[in-house]
């Protein structure tokens, strides 16, 4: 029994026969050529062939693993269209009178070294991509056929490193796990493993030549370890763990259609957070009881003018219809200077998080706000829509919001357009709002605590800044006290209180939140069943 450590990219456990992936890239030899121009013609031809192959691989990957993971083949294609790369190879053929195979291999090595030398881990990982495309070119020049590895039985694939072109050709049904010596947690093998929900280790301290096909290996993504030729006791233990994992997945599926209630009969609403209408599929698939945060920004970003009332009305109505009577809480525009949207005319700011954003823009640019409110009130006539206002810090703001809503109601009334004034709540995401939540509660229908911003503003810590990791504690007592305070103040006035930030999906805190009296948790669709399970076990 041998034990190897690696960096785990997906928490899972599996056991099966090893299949060692061997590159069949034989050494490219340097040859002098009489006619460099003829080599360049060959190179261009191989380039065309390579681009066609990459296009085909892209399409295969899109259907198998989705657009996001397939995009790498698009990048490979663009690398082959890179003038600097091509020029470097052609120059070498001309000045040194060498064969095209050698020129592309050397050029690929040079570019790859440039990436390897970069400080950024993500860019370091791109060195492998340059080598992958260069190898493809060289292979096409030699007229080599590209062969996908044949996998006979479900196996643990062990390799020095795996390029996207190599993994895409494997039969996904027969891959139990990936173990590579090189590669980073940013590598495509890692991304693929996460997508396929299979354990994978990268950067594994392992001598591949000591391995042979058919040896039994355990890959433990929880421990970040591979155990080769496990003894009977280990095998037994691992089999039990695999069964347990399978049962967990099956159990979660069984929770579909069940209520989220605690043992003493308290009902908690587990809703989902989404960013556009397309995500509703995941919401239904995971059996969320509603949508607790529908970010309306998708309607506003990446376009030249503000979305029309009609367009918004259709989108909101469609969302409500797809949710078939379940609650859909739509958050009004939450944009700031960090997301440039030209038609809003926002200027650059030193500190967008503390700047002109969200409800502040809406109150200053009532045209934009009114259009959204008209669309929301009209759509509410057709479905169970609620409205939620972001970044509120004062009771005055709530009064101003209510005044605009009243204006809109009057307009719709005069125009004889059908509408309904739905439930309206505010996000509690500033310490200010939390501290005056007793004053805010009588003015609104509900509170939804946005823990991401609340944490950032309370702890004065920017989550994007890795240097601050040491100081960052998402479970900080200040945050917990604020949540408790908001819940108590909401309940005092008979209003429900939810959490829609990342903390809402933190399984370590679920039971504590329920005990605090939180009525609703809105989480990523994939977390819904896990949270339901924890609550049902309370």
């Amino acid at each position: 029994m041998q034990y190897f450590k690696g960096k785990s990219v997906y928490k899972g456990v599996t056991m099966g026969p090893v299949l060692v992936y061997k590159k069949h890239g034989e050494q490219v030899k340097r040859k002098s050529v009489e006619d460099p121009e003829a080599e360049i013609v060959r190179l261009r031809k191989a380039l065309d062939t390579s681009k066609l192959q990459l296009q085909a691989l892209y399409e295969k990957a899109v259907t198998e693993v989705g657009e996001a993971s397939a995009a790498i083949f698009d990048v490979h294609k663009m690398m082959l269209e890179d003038e600097d790369y091509l020029e470097a190879a052609i120059n070498m053929i001309r000045t040194e009178s060498v064969n095209a195979e050698y020129a592309v291999t050397m050029t690929g090595n040079n570019f790859s070294q440039m990436f390897s030398a970069m400080a950024d881990d993500y860019m370091k990982a791109r060195a492998a991509d340059v080598l992958d495309v260069s190898l493809r070119l060289a292979r096409n020049l030699c007229g080599d056929k590209e062969q996908g590895m044949q996998i006979q039985q479900p196996s643990v694939i062990v390799a020095d490193d795996l390029s996207p072109s190599e993994t895409v050709q494997m039969d996904k049904e027969k891959i139990l796990a990936f173990v590579t010596v090189h590669g980073s947690t940013n590598s495509h093998t890692a991304i693929l493993a996460r997508m396929m929900n299979i354990p994978a280790l990268v950067g594994t301290d392992l001598d591949i030549s000591a391995l042979s096909d058919g040896m039994i290996a355990v890959v433990d993504g929880f421990e970040g370890a591979m155990i080769l030729e496990p003894d009977d006791a280990t095998c037994e233990n691992v089999r039990r763990r695999i069964r347990e994992e399978e049962e967990k997945v099956a159990l979660l599926q069984e929770l579909k259609g069940k209520d989220t209630v605690t043992a003493d009969g308290r009902k908690i609403n587990v809703y989902a957070n989404i960013g556009n209408v397309g995500d509703i599929g995941y919401v239904l698939e995971n059996d969320a009881e509603g949508i607790g945060l529908f970010r309306s920004e998708f309607l506003y970003l990446g376009r030249e003018d503000a979305p029309s009332e009609e367009e918004q009305f259709e989108a909101y109505k469609q969302a409500a219809r797809m949710m078939a009577g379940k609650k859909v809480i739509i958050r009004t525009l939450d944009i700031g200077a960090d997301k440039q949207v030209d038609y809003l005319g926002l200027s650059q700011e030193e500190n967008p998080a503390l700047g002109f954003r969200a409800i502040r823009i809406c109150l200053k640019q009532p045209d934009i706000f009114k259009t959204q409110l008209r669309a929301l009130l009209r759509a509410a006539f057709y479905g169970n829509i609620s409205i939620m206002y972001p970044m509120v810090i004062s009771t005055g703001e709530v009064q101003r919001i209510r005044a605009v809503v009243e204006d809109v109601v009057q307009e719709l009334e005069e125009q004889g357009i059908q509408y309904r004034v739905p439930e309206q709540g505010i996000m509690i995401e500033t310490p200010a709002a939390a501290l005056i939540s007793d004053r805010l509660a009588p003015m609104v229908d509900f509170f939804s605590i946005g823990t991401n911003d609340l944490t950032q503003y309370t702890l004065a810590i920017d989550r994007q800044n890795a240097k601050l990791d040491d100081f960052y504690n998402p479970h900080h007592e200040a945050i917990m006290r604020m949540i408790q305070m908001v819940v108590e103040n909401g309940h005092k006035h008979g209003k429900w209180v939810g959490i829609c930030g990342e903390l809402g999906a933190d399984t370590e805190l679920t039971q504590q939140f329920v005990r605090m009296g939180v009525d609703e948790l809105s989480v990523a669709p994939s977390m819904v069943l896990k949270i339901r399970k924890i609550i049902r076990e309370m």
Binding site: D84, F111, M114, Y122, D342
Partner: protein, 85 residues
Amino acid sequence: MKSFRYTITDEIGIHARPAGLLVKEAGKYESSIRIKSGEKSVEATGLMAVMSLGVRGGQTIEIVVEGSDEEKAAAGMKQFLEQNL
């Protein structure tokens, strides 16, 4: 000549995919377009060159456009950056 500065908001910076899109966008114009990041300056039409800048989220780059359609090119590049990076 037209130039403007832009601060990358995408967390991982100008990574492979957006770099490719940026190169395609820059290729649409007649004008020469250069990207400056710190001491380095590269043609915006070369994928590997753009990637080699290693621009990360939060860093500010300068785009320098020069040529017959520089007005349009600068506006196009600005819009592209705002929407993608």
